[in-house]
Amino acid sequence: MSKALTGKALTSKEWPLWEVFVRAKNGLSHKHAGSVHAADARMALEAARDTYTRRMEGISLWVVPSASIVASDPGEAAALFEPASDKVYRHPTFYVIPDNVKNI
């Protein structure tokens, strides 16, 4: 067990928030499942395990301090996302797919 598990963070009344990502099975990517409160990384992993994988939902977990996530600003949504809305040619839907190609 590592000494990183000291409980100094317990002095604050509210534990920090962690985002939880679950991989459902090998080959799939980790998907955001929700969040947990925890004072340290090990506690966050265990809380995530108890909260999000108790019904066999996953085989691997990531936890990330929520404070480490950089989010886009909703106020900039127009500049960031709307220009894509009239550029349908970016979807690869203009190709004719041969009949014999099944998986695409």
Partner: protein, 226 residues
């Protein structure tokens, strides 16, 4: 009539009584995440109890219609929850023992199937409790004081775990406990006069109160189902 399987009773009653104790935290734990974790552990233990008691008879009848003198759990698991640190101390001391005991039981003809399933659950319980001992012991002055008090309270009930066949587990258990206490910066509690008797049905008064609550429904409405 066949003699009742005493070994199955001991194994099942340990899990049942600790599971019931931990379930008392449901809705009262300091954080939602801790509430869920303790309830999960309680459910693991009650599942184990169902399997072990099933080898001694009808598990429901054994759990809900047996009198206190016929229970064979160790005294450690029936101790009251106290504060969170006392609950952690009990889970820490017991799960580390239970994991070693179940590991050896995996090769048994009689209980190997149950042990192989349960030992993984209990390895997690031991890890969970051990980490809390370090957090609380190496935390604030208050958490440290409470952790020391919790360990002191529970320590006198640990010699009972090593009676009879379980004696050889003592060395490995001591090493595991000492390693975690070392990480937590805590001293090993002083040995005092051991308190024994749970395996023979000589229980503390706490078990009677626990059973009163756990068995109420089946005693008041025999055979009730829902």
């Amino acid at each position: 009539m066949q003699p009742i399987n005493e070994r199955a009773l001991k194994l099942g009653d340990d899990s049942l009584i600790l599971g019931q104790r931990l379930s008392e935290w449901c809705g009262h734990a300091p954080m939602l995440e801790v509430d869920l974790a303790l309830a999960n552990i309680a459910l693991d233990l009650i599942g184990q109890a169902t399997l072990f008691l099933g080898r001694a008879g009808d598990p429901d009848a054994l759990a809900f219609r047996r009198d206190v003198l016929d229970f064979r759990n160790c005294l450690l698991v029936e101790q009251p929850n106290g504060d969170f640190a006392q609950t952690v101390a009990r889970l820490f001391l017991f799960s580390n023992w239970q994991e070693l005991m179940l590991r050896d039981l995996c090769s048994s003809d009689e209980f190997g199937d149950i042990a192989r399933k349960s030992v993984k659950e209990v390895a997690y319980h031991a890890r969970y409790a051990s980490e809390w001992v370090v957090r609380l012991g190496d935390g604030t002055d208050e958490s440290r004081g409470r952790m020391i008090a919790g360990l002191d309270w529970m320590w006198r009930f640990t010699p009972e775990l090593f009676e009879g066949d379980a004696a050889p587990l003592r060395g490995e258990w001591d090493a595991r406990i000492d390693a975690v206490l070392g990480d937590a910066g805590l001293d090993r509690p002083k040995d005092s006069r051991p308190i024994l008797g749970g395996r023979k049905g000589h229980h503390s008064e706490h078990l009677g109160h626990l059973l009163t609550e756990m068995q109420f429904l089946q005693r008041a409405y025999p055979g009730a189902t829902w």
